[in-house]
Symmetry: D2
């Protein structure tokens, strides 16, 4: 899947979720749901719907050929729909005319994208939950362990490692909640027909939409969103924010895991590193994945935002840009979430070294400064804060657990 | 303010909101509120607080000198606080030691930024409201006027201009509501002290925060957000989304205002254009401003997202990047919102030309296609949709009206 | 290859050039050249080199397995080198220790990337040459055809279509020449060893480098470029500039091909468009591809530039970001170049309509303005300029023809 | 100047270079040169030219009023030219008609921008030269000092600090040379008239251009570049590359200056830091400035590249975006160059600590690994390389010294 230099920056699950087979399968689910709904309201014959529904099985299609033909068509829906019509007409000639009736390429592509994105979001949410859980455990375990607080890359005072973990967790949990809310708005059926008016469905468009939404378990939107992409891109922004907060955790761990600092070690279980396989090398593959995502996702979000001024009733180029940039954002996000979940579960914490670094710094300071700003006792205040915040986080987390 | 090539892409109001004087004033309001709250809980003497509060008047300070000195300090708070201490000690030597007690540069800067941003958001909201109102009026007035629907930059079928206006309005209204919600989360007091633990305020930190929040009419956050920037950047993302949706309206108007299309004319009242001042030139300054914002805002958002992995308890560089990029985003957003509000209020609509373009296209088509896809009667379906959507939009708009 | 929504935005050739098989093949060519050179200067035994060289055949390796294992390693070189060592030791146990001797993962990856990029650049150059040739032909053919010159999206005066074509060609030709120069600097062997000092090769490093450069037909750089990426990213910038200039041509064609303007039609041969396959639709797939590239490439370039501050002797994350972003840039660039080459060869030009649009505009103007700014005779000045510029372009083009 | 949060990220010199007064002055220099040249070839009366030239003094104009009026005009040239015409006609009524004769707003703005950019480039070049000189001195002085080489943020082997400095210098010097070449192509007169054809100047356009180029000491381009921005944006890309390489130096210094590493200290002379003014804090303001630039410049470059598809003969919005983004890029670049020049001149190097870190690491390793990869003797190889590379750099540097 994807290019050889980015597959290890993501996960096989999310790469598969956006793989050609899964996307075409989702497109066929749209077509089946459309035919079912249209037959239900009497827009197309039941027999035609049955033929279409029966043919909407991805195993009946030549995925590679369809992808190849999309190059000439400039659109993935065209060769799939051609192939679907051909296959349907083998069994039921009349039915072919009812394939994608009153709908348009963008309807099927947007809805399919919502379906596969929903799966990717679930994967991401699961790993964010694990990351948050691991952080809350660390926050609780290390609430009282003093740690140099560092500002502008220099020692500034004393905090506790537990507080640091609680503060790492908070934005991840907020992102988790915002993403849930954002996805519930954005994961909609798209059904607008050629130009967003559902003209061919006469006055039955709204009914068809409702039936399809129930069938596909997506939201029925109040407006067709062919060229109004704000809710979709808002979900992309949430992913960008999530990745940014994951990157913050990874950045700190990377700095604390430097040999000269030595306060943390990324679990060896996450593997990887240098070909030399030197025993002494601490591997930081997970942090690398999260930091890479945190550099790449902002550019994807910028591309999505810049593509928003989509012309008239369907855009030339801006729409294709949005589609093309989308999967990479989800891939980065899941790569980062999975990596941090793994890294934090296996994180090796060295409270003695944290204390030693603090003491070493105190030793070079004038006594007054040492006692004012670098008294290990200052960790107590941080510990109290850590516990207060832990309670807040645990309370905030509940809705996601039952979700 | 700002550079000579971007002042016309924004408004004087929002440029002033982020002007040096207003930012320093907001910083002084933070210092006054801090002293008041700390005296209230007994952390600092009442007399000291009175001296500090009395000195926190921007007119007492040399704004230009403070900005100049920030260059050496690498921070705007350092010269202001130095100057504040000096001035306070002129009147009350003991009080100087209590200036910014237990707080840090970032506390004052972040809180000041929240204060000035709140003003900018209000400006933006007011102009988005005007834009939405103008669009709803147009949607109602032109619900039945047929218009060529265009996809991939070519005629595709028939819609109505009223429906187009309703569809332009929907994402703006959604942005308006999301921005309100996002701002209510992000516009917080920042109070964490040197490293986020409020250590110097002993156990009074939370009380001080609460008092200050009431005083400054900002939210008291559950966590200090020194290096957890997700809610702040989320507000930035909302601005990016808003600008994208404004850009969509501007893009369509620009295309429809081409001489060869001639369906719309941007009001001459918005002025501007070519030095030649040729009578024949239709001026599109407002659309230009919105389209420029739609190209620039995504890059600002990307910079904010990329700056999120802020090291430890205060970042080196990433924090300064976030600060430096912030005002430009608000300036673009208000520039775009104001421009579109003005353009839409004065928009000249030519329904005859819309109809003529449709008829001209019908004339070159085979009769069957002309009647299937370009029957002016198709506008009726669009008109019905426009009216339905108008009702939805009016209902959605209510919370913003009472806000 | 790649994701289903971007394959049609590129070409199969460039997607194949960066395919897993080709990249692994280039990595094996590096290993063979390294062994050959090291045996040549006596650093490793001839017999070991023969075994290594003989094993460096991509057909001997399980490409899918290596890609899969890269996920755990966080690096594509680790599983390949492990596999290479295993395979070598099947035949010659002693030789395995000399695989990648004194070199490092990054050496093999960077050099392999230079090899596959060279092929991609050649593909791009060929299509830019075709685009330029087509434009020069059009410029010559339509030098005298009057055309409305448009500024700020409104008629401004008169130019000639031939001049417009010459002006479209100029930046493409400049990009072609700059890209050639940039590639000749950037397409280097990477050979630095673990930390850029080639320490294990004793004093033979420079000799090995020279031999390898001759063998692989890449430049031998004066400095190892493990974390000094300026020349590589400079080549990326050139690709961004090229795509921007191709996008300018596509943007203008798209506007001129609007039904209401009707001056150009993108060749039907480039296929594609809407599933409806309406006869009346002019297909603009080629312009879509170029415009999509022009929106995506800037974000790729930004990611490359932002990744430049690579830590110490090999970066964590920034390096992986650069690698991951690279192929997409080349894919966009070739997609755009190929699309415009095809579109321009088949472009349908309607000089009558150009003239008619001019006359229609003249008719609505006051006579004085019509004669001052919209006299068709003004095209003569443009025609003279077109011919002068054509001569310049033909002269500039010569070095690329013999190259 | 500019916003209060970015002034310390730049320098007062470059902020002044792009200040309203300097830009308007450059625009007036264009108008004077145009009048002079046109009188020289007989296009306008000598008396008119004298009046225009005599009035083109920035002190005669109300800068603030012109900037304010640009908001309504959507262009800075319109109010300036109006004001110039008014002032000229006070003295010589007939001359007013010859102001900006045959030229257009974009001609004056682009040329003025080239003039002020030239000054900014000189400032940047001077500081890059100082940075390179300081690095070559450090490279020579510390060629033999062993230093832990670090890859993926962990110790990897041994290098020398001198080699590190030479490798920091190389891309800066290459950027310096590329920027010089790029600027010599891009710093051109813009003279195209309303739509790039210079129609009103009859056959005298080329002569006028040549005279103006000599007068203003800019290049006379072969093509008008109203909407062909590749050479201009290429110069922007070079600035982005330069900033990226400066950021690399800053990133490494920041990491080496961490308390726990302690190998370098940014000169206290560069000031700044925390309000606490704790003696123990090592100030890293210079690195902060360079790192901030390295995060911001890529977004500016992306905006410039994305704005390249400029419509027809003058773009709506894309052109204004390019203009608005431009000064910030130069400001970041000079801020970074100046900061690093200052930081490196005053850099405090601690070779004992470098050696101690190496020894500490050796002590935790198995003896075999310690001797193979972390033998301080390995620094000798690095030292030899450093000296070789120094010679190359000194030779490369010569053209810039005589320039």
């Amino acid at each position: 899947m994807s290019n050889i230099f980015e597959s290890f920056l993501s996960t096989s699950e999310v790469q598969e979720a956006f793989g050609a087979r899964n996307v075409l399968d989702a497109m066929l689910r749209f077509e089946a749901a459309l035919a079912r709904a249209q037959a239900g309201v009497g827009l197309i014959p039941q027999a035609a719907a049955q033929s279409i529904i029966g043919t909407c099985k991805v195993d009946l299609f030549d995925v590679t050929k369809i992808v190849r033909e999309s190059a000439r068509a400039g659109c993935i829906a065209i060769p799939l729909l051609n192939s679907l019509k051909e296959t349907v007409s083998l069994f039921n000639k009349e039915a072919a005319a009812f394939v994608n009736f009153g709908s348009t390429n963008q309807d099927v592509i947007d809805t399919a994208l919502a379906l596969v994105t929903r799966n990717a979001i679930k994967l991401i949410e699961a790993d964010v939950d694990k990351t948050v859980a691991a952080l809350l455990t660390l926050a609780s375990r290390h609430a009282d362990d003093p740690l140099l607080a560092r500002t502008l890359m220099q020692p500034a005072s004393v905090t506790s490692f537990g507080l640091k973990c609680a503060d790492w967790a908070a934005p991840l949990l907020r992102s988790r909640l915002r993403l849930q809310s954002s996805a519930s708005n954005a994961l909609c059926v798209q059904l607008g027909g050629a130009v967003g008016t559902l003209a061919q469905m006469q006055d039955k468009g709204a009914q068809v939409m409702t039936l399809m939404a129930t069938d596909l378990q997506l939201k029925a939107p109040l407006f067709s969103w062919h060229t109004q992409r704000d809710e979709w891109v808002a979900m992309g922004c949430e992913l960008g924010l999530l990745v940014g907060s994951l990157g913050k955790v990874a950045k700190d761990i990377t700095l604390m895991a430097q040999f000269e600092v030595g306060e943390l070690t990324e679990s060896l279980g996450t593997g990887g590193g240098d070909a030399k396989e030197m025993l002494h090398r601490r591997h930081q593959v997970a942090c690398m994945v999260a930091l890479a995502a945190a550099q790449r996702a902002p550019q994807r979000v910028a591309a999505l935002l810049a593509a928003m001024p989509q012309e008239h009733e369907r855009a030339l180029a801006n729409r294709q840009v949005e589609l093309a940039e989308w999967p990479g954002l989800l891939m980065s996000a899941h790569g980062a979430a999975r990596a941090m979940a793994q890294a934090l579960v296996g994180l090796q914490v060295d409270p003695q070294r944290m204390r030693a670094n603090l003491d070493t710094f105190r030793a070079v300071l004038p006594p007054k400064e040492a006692s004012q700003w670098f008294n290990p006792g200052l960790a107590q205040q941080a510990a109290d804060l850590a516990r207060t915040r832990l309670n807040v986080l645990v309370a905030l987390r509940q809705p996601t657990e039952t979700a």
